[in-house]
C-alpha cells in the first residue's frame, strides 16, 4: 500500500510545483497543466508528485535532441576481433570523446551491444545480478571490411551485422531484409563523465559546453554567453524537484540510443504501466517511464512509471518476433514513434491497394540517467524463441509451491488472531477453498517487521499451527524500511553491521515510511542480503513456522518524504549512487527474502515471496502484483494488459488485487473480479484498511455461491496451472499470454487485451463491463475449434463469437486438440487435494487429435530439481487411442493419484472402450452424450504415473 497522506499534502505542494514551472520557457503550456491539476478529482494520482520528462533534467536534455546526423563515428582501425567479441572505438566528432563499442554474438540467436566510455574518469555502473551467467557466445566473423564499414556474419540463417563508420550505425540483416538498426536516427548520446567547472582546472572549454554529447551544434552562441545559467537550467550538476534537491556530484551521465524496427507496427512490454498491451506512440506526450515508484492511487492509460520496471520490449509482426533488453537500472524513459501511427485502417488499405505504401516502421529510443549502454537484441524469430532467449539471459519464472497457485485471502488488516481464526472458519462454513491468509503491516509490533503485535498476535505459533492443522498457510509482510529504534533488534544489527544505505554525506540515510523514521538496508550488498536471509531462520524470526511466507511491499523503495516518494538519487550504496541502482533495489529485497526462505528449510523447500517492485530477473524470486489499484471497473479491465505485459517479459506469476485495493467494490464488480482473478496467475483478494469487510460470504447467498463456484473452478484447474508454471520455469513461456503469442500470424490478435490465453489451451474472456449482457470473444485459429468449458459447446476458430452472459458466466474455452488434466474434487485447500484423482478433459481437434501433459511432484520442495522426483507425462489422443507416455523416464516420483474419469469432447460414440496397461486389456464403462458429442469414460482407474492406453473401438 502506499502513503495515504500523500494525497493530503497535495494542494500546498501543487502550488509550489506550478510556481517553479513558471521559470520554464514552456510556461504557457505548463500553467494549463497546473490548472487542470487543481480541478482533478480527489480520487486519482497527484501527477504533480511525479516528474514528467520535462521535469527530469536528463530526459528533457536528451529529448531535445532531434533525429539527424549522428556526431559519432566508428574508428574502424581500432577494430579488434576475438572469437566471441568485437571491439571498436567510436568518437564523438563534437567533443572528441572516445567510446568503446563491444559486440557479441550470443548463443541462441542474440546479439549484445555494449557501449561505454573508452576511458571514463571513473568506472560507470554496470548492472550486476540480473544475468544468470555471463551469456555464452558464438564466434563472429568478418565478411568484409572497407572504409565505410564492416560486415559481420552472425552465424546462422544468413544473418549479418553491418557496422557503418560515418556516421556510426549498426544494422542487423537477415537476407536482404533489415531486421533492426541502431543509431539510424542519430540519437546515440553518451554524456561522458567530466569534472565540475568549479573543480576543473579549465581543461578544455569546448567540452564543458556540451550538455549532451551527441548534441548537434545547438545554438552555440547562446551557450557561450550565459553558460552558467544555462547549466543550472539544464540541471547538469544539480536539479530540484519540488522541495528536493538532487546534488549531482558526477554531473551529467545520461545515455541514449535509438532503434529502428522496419516492418514493425506492434511493440509490447516495458512494464510496469497501467496501459494497453500494445504500446502507444509517445509523440506529443511523455515517453514511457521506467522508475520504480510508490504511486498513490495510480491513473490508468498513461505512460507514468509505477512500482516496477522491466526494460524489455518485444516487437512483433506476422513474420518475426524480436526483443530489445536494455540492461540499465537507472531512471529510464522510452520513446516510441511509428510512421503508421497516424494512419487509419482505411488509409493503410489505400496504401496497400495503391501499392504506394512505405514500409511500416517503429522507432524506439531509450534514455537512461546513468550507467552504460548494454543491449541484448533477441532475434526470435518465433515468440517462444524470444521468451527462451530472454530466459537464457535472466532466468525463468521460479517454480512456485503448488499452494501459492490457490486462492489468497488478504486484507489490510486482519485485526488479530481471533479475526484470523474466524475468517478461516468462515471459509469452511461457506465451503470455499483457500490456501493462504495474509497479514499486512498492522500485525507487527509498531511496524517492526519480523515481530508480532503482543496484544493482537500474542501466540503466532498457535495461530500458524491452527492453519497448519487445516493444511493452510499464512503470509506476513516484511517491508525493507526499518524502524529507527534502538530497542529493535533488526535495526541495531543493521546499524552495527553498517548495512544501511548512506546519504550523500555518508550518514545513514533516513526517511519516513510506515513506522515513522526509517532506515533502508543496502540490499545491493551481498553481505547484507546474506544477513537479511538469515533473519528468516525459525530461531531468528520468532513466531514463524514453515507455513509462514513473505510479502515484500514498499520496496521501490517507498520513502514518504523523499523525492517522488522514493529515495534521493544521491544516496549512496557503497560507491554507487542510488541513481545508478534505483530500479533494481526491489529485486534485491525479494531475492534476499526468497533466499531466506530457502535457507530456513535447509535448501529443501521452495519459497513464496510476493513483491511490488521488480526489475528484469525478478521472475526468479516469486510473484508480483500490480500494486494499489482501486475498486473500479477500469481497474479490473487494466489488470489483463498489465499482467500480459509482465508475462511477455518473463514475469508469469502476476495478479491484481481482487476487488480493488482502494474503495468499496459493488457486489457485481466484486463477483466479476473474482471471476477474472480466478483465471489470472496470482489470485489474491486484498482491501484497504478503510474499506468495509469483503470476505466472499458477506454479499448474500447468491453471490457467495458465485464466488465459491469460481474459486472452485480455479482449484479444479490447479493441475493445469501447475504444469504451466513448470513449463514457464523450464522454458520461459509465459503462463498467461496474449493471443498473438500462439497465433503470431493472425493480425486480428495483435491488439487484443480484453481476453487472453492460459497456456495454449484455455482462452478466457472475462466480463469486465458493468451490467454486461454479453461479450464478444475472438476465437483465434482458422483451423481451430474451441469448446466452451462449461457447456462443451463447440465453436469454430477465427471468428468473433458473441456470448450472452449472466452474472454467473465466465466465458472460458478449451482449444480443440488439447488435453487438460483437472482435479474435480475440490477441497478446502490445495494441499488437501494432493492425492486426489484426475479427470482428463480431452478436447478433440477437427482431425480428432489432442495432446497435453501431466506434471506431478510433491508440490512444495526442490526435490523435483535436486532428485528428479516428479512425474511428467505426455498425453496424446490420436487414432482413437488416448495414450500416456513418460516424458522423463529417469524421474522417480510415486503418486497415489489416479485417473478417475476421461471426458472426450467432440468424440463419436465407440462400441467399446478398452484400457491397455501392463499388457492387459480391460473394458472400460462409458457414456456418450449425443447432444454435445461428449464421451465419458467411467473410472478407468489407472495410476496417474503409469503407462497406459485407452482404445476407443
Amino acid at each position: 500500500m502506499s502513503a495515504m497522506f500523500e494525497g493530503n499534502a497535495l494542494s500546498a505542494m501543487q502550488t509550489s510545483h506550478c510556481h517553479t514551472s513558471l521559470n520554464n520557457y514552456r510556461m504557457g503550456l505548463l500553467s494549463v497543466v497546473c490548472v487542470s491539476l487543481f480541478f482533478s478529482s480527489t480520487f486519482a494520482v497527484d501527477r504533480g508528485n511525479f516528474k514528467t520528462c520535462d521535469q527530469s533534467a536528463f530526459c528533457k536534455r536528451q529529448r531535445a535532441l532531434k533525429p539527424g546526423q549522428s556526431p559519432y563515428r566508428a574508428l574502424l582501425e581500432t577494430l579488434e576481433l576475438s572469437d566471441s567479441r568485437l571491439t571498436l572505438q567510436l568518437i564523438n566528432d563534437n567533443n572528441k570523446v572516445h567510446l568503446l563499442l563491444e559486440l557479441y554474438r550470443l548463443q541462441g540467436n542474440m546479439t549484445r551491444v555494449k557501449i561505454n566510455e573508452l576511458k571514463p574518469l571513473k568506472p560507470r555502473f554496470e548492472v550486476p545480478d540480473v544475468l544468470i551467467a555471463e551469456p555464452p557466445t558464438e564466434p563472429l566473423s568478418v565478411l568484409s571490411k572497407d572504409d565505410n564499414g564492416v560486415v559481420l556474419s552472425l552465424g546462422a540463417e544468413n544473418q549479418r551485422l553491418i557496422v557503418s563508420a560515418r556516421p556510426f550505425r549498426l544494422d542487423i540483416m537477415e537476407g536482404p531484409e533489415v531486421l533492426l538498426s541502431l543509431n539510424s536516427r542519430g540519437l546515440l548520446a553518451f554524456e561522458h563523465l567530466r569534472l565540475h567547472k568549479d573543480t576543473q582546472a579549465q581543461a578544455d572549454g569546448a567540452e564543458v559546453k556540451e550538455s549532451v554529447d551527441g548534441d548537434q551544434q545547438q545554438d552555440e552562441g547562446k551557450k557561450d554567453e550565459d553558460g552558467e545559467s544555462e547549466k543550472e537550467e539544464d540541471g547538469l550538476w544539480e536539479e530540484t524537484f519540488k522541495s528536493h534537491t538532487d546534488t549531482k556530484p558526477n554531473g551529467p551521465t545520461s545515455i541514449s540510443l535509438d532503434f529502428s524496427l522496419p516492418g514493425v507496427e506492434h511493440v509490447y512490454g516495458i512494464p510496469e504501466h497501467a496501459d494497453d498491451l500494445k504500446l502507444k506512440t509517445t509523440d506529443g506526450g511523455d515517453p514511457y517511464r521506467l522508475y520504480n515508484l510508490d504511486v498513490f492511487q495510480y491513473e490508468l492509460y498513461n505512460p507514468m512509471a509505477l512500482y516496477g520496471s522491466i526494460p524489455v520490449m518485444l516487437a512483433h509482426n506476422t513474420q518475426r518476433t524480436m526483443g530489445i533488453f536494455w540492461l540499465n537500472a537507472a531512471e529510464t524513459w522510452v520513446d516510441i514513434s511509428s510512421n503508421t501511427a497516424g494512419k487509419t485502417v482505411f488509409g493503410k488499405m489505400l496504401d496497400f491497394v495503391q501499392g504506394s505504401s512505405e514500409k511500416p516502421q517503429t522507432d524506439v529510443r531509450w534514455i537512461s540517467e546513468s550507467g552504460i549502454i548494454d543491449v541484448f537484441i533477441m532475434l526470435g524469430p518465433k515468440p517462444s524463441k524470444v521468451f527462451s532467449q530472454y530466459a537464457s539471459l535472466t532466468g525463468t519464472q521460479s517454480f512456485p509451491p503448488l499452494a501459492s497457485l490457490g486462492y489468497h485471502q488478504c486484507r489490510w488488516n486482519y485485526n488479530d488472531q481471533e479475526d484470523v481464526k474466524s475468517v478461516d472458519q468462515g471459509f469452511d462454513q461457506h465451503d470455499i477453498p483457500y490456501d493462504f491468509i495474509w497479514l499486512d503491516i498492522e500485525h507487527a509490533d509498531g511496524k517492526r517487521y519480523f515481530t508480532w503485535d503482543p496484544h493482537k498476535f500474542p501466540q503466532p505459533k498457535e495461530m500458524l499451527q491452527g492453519l497448519m492443522d487445516k493444511r493452510r498457510k499464512m503470509v506476513s509482510i516484511v517491508d525493507p524500511h526499518i524502524r529507527v529504534d534502538s530497542g529493535y533488534k533488526i535495526h541495531n544489527e543493521i546499524t552495527s553491521k553498517d548495512f544501511y544505505v548512506k546519504n550523500k554525506d555518508g550518514k545513514n540515510y533516513e526517511g519516513w515510511c510506515w513506522p515513522g523514521n526509517s532506515g533502508y538496508p543496502d540490499f545491493t550488498k551481498p553481505e547484507m542480503r546474506a544477513w537479511w536471509a538469515s533473519m528468516f531462520a525459525y530461531d531468528q524470526y520468532e513466531g514463524s513456522m514453515e507455513n509462514l511466507f513473505t510479502w515484500n511491499d514498499m520496496n521501490e523503495p517507498s520513502v514518504f518524504n523523499g523525492p517522488e516518494v522514493t529515495m534521493h538519487k544521491d544516496a549512496l550504496h557503497g560507491k554507487w549512487e542510488h541513481r545508478d541502482i534505483h530500479n533494481i533495489y526491489g529485486l534485491y529485497v525479494q531475492m534476499a527474502t526468497a533466499e531466506g526462505q530457502i535457507q530456513r528449510s535447509g535448501g529443501v523447500e521452495r519459497p513464496f515471496v510476493l513483491t511490488r517492485a521488480f526489475f528484469a530477473g525478478s521472475q526468479r524470486y516469486g510473484a508480483v502484483w500490480t500494486g494499489d489499484n482501486a475498486a473500479e471497473w477500469d481497474h479490473l479491465k487494466i489488470s489483463i494488459p498489465m499482467c500480459l505485459s509482465l508475462g511477455l517479459v518473463g514475469v508469469s506469476f502476476c495478479g491484481a488485487d481482487v476487488g480493488g485495493f482502494f474503495k468499496n467494490p459493488s457486489t457485481e464488480l466484486l463477483v466479476r473480479w473474482y471471476q477474472t482473478g480466478a483465471y489470472q496467475p496470482f489470485f489474491r483478494a486484498h482491501a484497504h484498511l478503510d474499506t468495509t469487510r469483503r470476505e466472499p460470504w458477506l454479499f448474500g447467498p447468491e453471490n457467495t455461491a458465485l464466488i465459491r463456484e469460481v474459486i472452485r473452478q480455479r482449484y479444479a484447474l490447479l493441475p493445469y496451472w501447475y504444469q504451466l508454471f513448470y513449463q514457464a520455469h523450464k522454458t520461459g513461456m509465459p503462463v498467461m499470454r496474449p493471443l498473438w503469442v500462439d497465433y503470431p500470424k493472425d493480425t486480428a490478435t495483435f491488439t487484443i487485451d480484453d481476453e487472453f490465453l492460459i497456456g495454449s489451451d484455455l482462452l478466457v474472456h472475462p466480463v469486465t463491463e458493468e451490467g454486461s449482457r454479453g461479450v464478444t470473444a475472438y476465437l483465434p485459429g482458422a483451423e481451430e475449434v474451441w469448446y466452451d468449458v462449461h457447456t462443451f459447446q463447440k465453436h469454430n476458430g477465427a471468428q468473433n463469437l458473441y456470448i450472452p452472459v449472466t452474472l454467473s458466466s465466465i466465458p472460458v474455452f478449451q482449444r480443440g486438440g488439447s488435453i487438460i488434466p483437472r482435479k474435480d474434487r475440490v477441497r478446502r485447500s490445495s494441499t488437501c487435494m494432493e492425492n486426489d484423482p484426475y479427470t482428463l478433459y480431452v478436447a478433440l481437434s477437427p482431425k480428432k487429435f489432442a495432446e497435453g501433459e501431466l506434471y506431478i511432484d510433491d508440490g512444495h520442495s526442490f526435490n523435483y530439481d535436486t532428485k528428479k522426483e516428479f512425474i511428467h507425462r505426455s498425453l496424446t489422443f490420436a487414432n482413437n487411442a488416448l495414450t500416456s507416455s513418460n516424458l522423463c523416464p529417469d524421474c522417480n516420483f510415486l503418486t497415489s493419484s489416479w485417473i478417475e474419469k476421461v471426458l472426450i469432447l467432440g468424440a463419436s460414440k465407440p462400441s467399446k472402450v478398452l484400457l491397455k496397461m501392463d499388457g492387459k486389456e480391460t473394458p472400460v464403462d462409458f457414456e456418450f452424450d449425443t447432444s454435445m458429442s461428449v464421451l465419458t469414460l467411467r473410472k478407468p482407474g489407472m495410476n496417474a504415473g503409469a503407462d497406459w492406453t485407452l482404445l476407443l473401438q
Partner: protein, 521 residues
C-alpha cells in the same frame, strides 16, 4: 435396537445416516435419491460419482456435492461435505471421515460430548435463570409502563389544571398591574412636578448669585463693561466680548437691574462661568433604587435531575435561554440606566406612598405567582414529554428491554473504555486521556427477520477520515447479567459489541436430558 445396552453398529454403507439406511439395500440396485438414475449396488461408495445429487457416494469424496454422515457416538451426529473425507483433517470426532488418509485422528466424541453437556447445562441454567429474570423485567417494565402511563394521564390532568391556573393568574397579574402602573405614573408625575419647581427655584437663586457676581461695583446694576469681563459669553466665539455684543446680550441697555437681568439670564446662563468654583451640574434623573435592584431570578431552584441534564443537553440549553429572556422581560420595565450614586439625596424620588406601595406589592405578588405557575407548567410539560419519549421506544415485544433505558454499561480494554448507553449512544474513550469518540447514536433494532431484537444498530457516530461515519452493532445474547462482554472493530469504523442481558433469554425448551447417542444404543 437395544441389545442389553451394548452398542452395536448397524450395518449400512459408509457415510449414510440411519434415517436413510432403507435406501441403501445391498441386494438391490441403487436408485439415486433424486431418482435420476439407477445403478448396480456395487457402484455405491465405489469412489466414482454416478448420481448428480451425490447420493451414491455417501462415504467417499467422489461427488462434489455429497455429504458424509458421522455418527459421533457420545457427541452430536453431523453431516460434513464429502470433500472433507480423507482430506487429512479430522472433522468427525469419531474419526470416521479419515479412514484412508493417513491422518492420525483420535476419537474425541466422549470428551466433546461431556464438554458440550456441561456447556449446555450451563447454558440451560443461564437461560433458565435469565428467563426468570426476564419475566421479572417484563413484569417490572409492564408495571413501570403502566405507572408511567397513568402518571402521564395524571400529569396531563394536572397540566390542564395548571393551564387554567396559569391563565387565571395571568388575569390576576394583569388586573393587579393596571392600578400599579397608574399609581406609579401618578407618583412619578407628582415627583416630576416637584422636581421642576425645585429646578426653577435653583435657577432663580443662581441668577441672583450671578447678578451679584457680575455687579462688581455693587451698584445694583450690571453694566456692559461688567458683563464684558466674562469673555466666555462671546456670542460669535471670536474670543472677545465686544461692547456691542455685550450690549446685544443686555437687550440694548447700558446696564440692567435685577429685574431686567431676568431677561438677560436665559441668554447667558448656559455659557456663564462662575467666578467661584462650583459643584457640577446635578446628576440626571434617577429612579428609586429598590425598584432597580430586583434580582435576576436564579435557576437554582429548577428541579432538573442531573442525569436529565446530561442526557438532554440541547433541550436544556434551549430552556435556559427561554428563562433568561423571561428574566429580561421581567426586569426590563422599571429600569432606567444604571443609577449613579449621588449624595444629593434631596434629588432622589421620594418613596411611594403607602397606597401605591400596596398596589405594587400586590402586583409583584401576582407576577410571582404567575411565574411560578408558568414554570410549574413547563416542568410538567417536560416531564410528560420525557415519559412519552420513553414510552415511544420499542422495548421489545414484552417491554423486556425497558430496564436498559437511561442506563450505561462500560467495558475497559487495553486501550479504551467503551460505553454503551442503550437506546442512546455508544462511545469510546482512550483509557489514558483523550477525548471521547461517538461510535453511533441509537438507530434501530436490526436483528434477523425472525428476531430483530438480537441486534441493535447505532449509527451516525463521529466520521472517519476517508471513511464512513462510525457505527456500532450490538449483539445481544442471553445472560444472567447485563454486561458488555467484548468489543471489536471488524471493519474500519464499524464496531461490534457483544452484550449479555436476561432480556433475550428464551423460554427454556424442555431439554431432553438424555445424550444424543441413542442411535448407537
Amino acid at each position: 435396537l437395544m441389545f442389553l445396552g451394548t452398542p452395536v453398529e448397524i450395518q449400512r454403507p459408509r457415510g449414510v445416516p440411519l434415517t436413510k439406511k432403507q435406501f441403501y439395500e445391498e441386494s438391490k440396485p441403487f436408485t439415486c435419491l433424486d431418482g435420476s438414475r439407477t445403478i448396480p449396488f456395487d457402484r455405491v461408495n465405489d469412489d466414482y460419482c454416478d448420481c448428480k445429487d451425490g447420493s451414491d457416494e455417501p462415504g467417499t469424496a467422489a461427488c462434489p456435492n455429497g455429504s458424509f454422515h458421522c455418527t459421533n457416538a457420545g457427541y452430536r451426529p453431523m453431516f460434513i461435505p464429502s470433500s472433507r473425507i480423507n482430506d487429512g483433517i479430522c472433522d468427525c470426532c469419531d474419526t470416521t471421515d479419515e479412514y484412508n488418509s493417513g491422518a492420525k485422528c483420535e476419537n474425541t466424541c466422549k470428551e466433546l460430548g461431556r464438554k458440550e453437556r456441561e456447556v449446555l447445562q450451563k447454558m440451560a441454567e443461564i437461560t433458565k435463570e435469565g428467563f426468570l429474570l426476564k419475566q421479572q423485567l417484563i413484569e417490572e417494565a409492564k408495571k413501570g409502563q403502566q405507572e408511567k402511563q397513568s402518571k402521564v394521564t395524571d400529569m396531563q390532568e394536572n397540566k390542564k389544571q395548571l393551564d387554567e391556573k396559569v391563565e387565571a393568574l395571568r388575569t390576576v397579574k394583569e388586573t393587579a398591574e393596571q392600578p400599579e402602573k397608574e399609581a406609579k405614573e401618578r407618583h412619578l408625575k407628582a415627583w416630576e412636578e416637584q422636581k421642576a419647581a425645585i429646578r426653577l427655584e435653583k435657577d432663580k437663586a443662581k441668577m441672583a448669585e450671578t447678578f451679584l457676581e457680575l455687579d462688581d461695583n455693587e451698584d445694583g446694576f450690571v453694566s456692559v463693561s461688567e458683563l464684558q469681563s466674562h469673555a466666555e459669553l462671546d456670542p460669535d466665539a471670536d474670543g472677545t466680548l465686544t461692547e456691542i455684543e455685550a450690549q446685544g446680550l443686555m437687550g440694548g441697555a447700558e446696564q440692567v437691574d435685577t429685574s431686567t437681568f431676568e431677561s438677560v439670564w436665559p441668554k447667558i446662563k448656559d455659557k456663564y462661568h462662575s467666578e467661584v468654583s462650583r459643584e457640577e451640574e446635578p446628576a440626571p434623573v434617577e429612579t428609586p433604587p429598590d425598584e432597580v435592584k430586583e434580582p435576576v431570578v436564579d435557576n437554582d431552584s429548577e428541579p432538573y435531575p442531573e442525569d436529565d441534564i446530561s442526557e438532554e443537553e440541547d433541550e436544556d440549553d434551549e430552556d435556559e435561554d427561554d428563562y433568561h429572556e423571561d428574566d429580561d422581560k421581567v426586569s426590563a420595565q422599571p429600569t432606567i440606566k444604571t443609577p449613579e450614586k449621588t449624595h444629593e439625596d434631596e434629588e432622589a424620588m421620594p418613596p411611594y406612598d403607602a397606597d401605591t406601595q400596596a398596589l405594587i406589592d400586590a402586583a409583584q405578588k401576582a407576577r410571582d405567582d404567575f411565574e411560578e405557575a408558568e414554570k410549574a407548567l413547563r416542568e410538567m410539560d417536560d416531564q410528560i414529554r420525557n415519559i412519552e419519549k420513553e414510552l415511544s421506544f420499542d422495548f421489545g415485544p414484552d417491554a423486556e428491554f425497558t430496564y436498559l433505558y437511561s442506563q450505561c454499561y462500560e467495558l475497559t480494554t487495553s486501550e479504551y473504555i467503551y460505553r454503551l448507553c442503550p437506546f442512546n449512544r455508544v462511545s469510546q474513550k482512550p483509557k489514558y486521556g483523550g477525548s471521547e469518540t461517538n461510535l453511533g447514536t441509537w438507530g434501530s433494532w436490526s436483528g434477523p427477520e425472525n428476531n430483530k431484537y438480537l441486534l441493535m444498530k447505532y449509527e451516525q457516530g463521529t466520521g472517519c477520515w476517508q471513511g464512513p461515519n462510525r457505527s456500532t452493532t450490538v449483539k445481544l445474547t442471553c445472560g444472567k447479567e447485563t454486561v458488555v462482554t467484548s468489543t471489536s472493530e471488524p471493519s474500519r469504523c464499524e464496531y461490534l459489541m457483544e452484550f449479555t442481558t436476561p432480556a433475550v433469554c428464551q423460554e427454556p425448551a424442555n431439554i431432553d436430558p438424555s445424550p444424543h447417542d441413542h442411535v448407537e444404543l
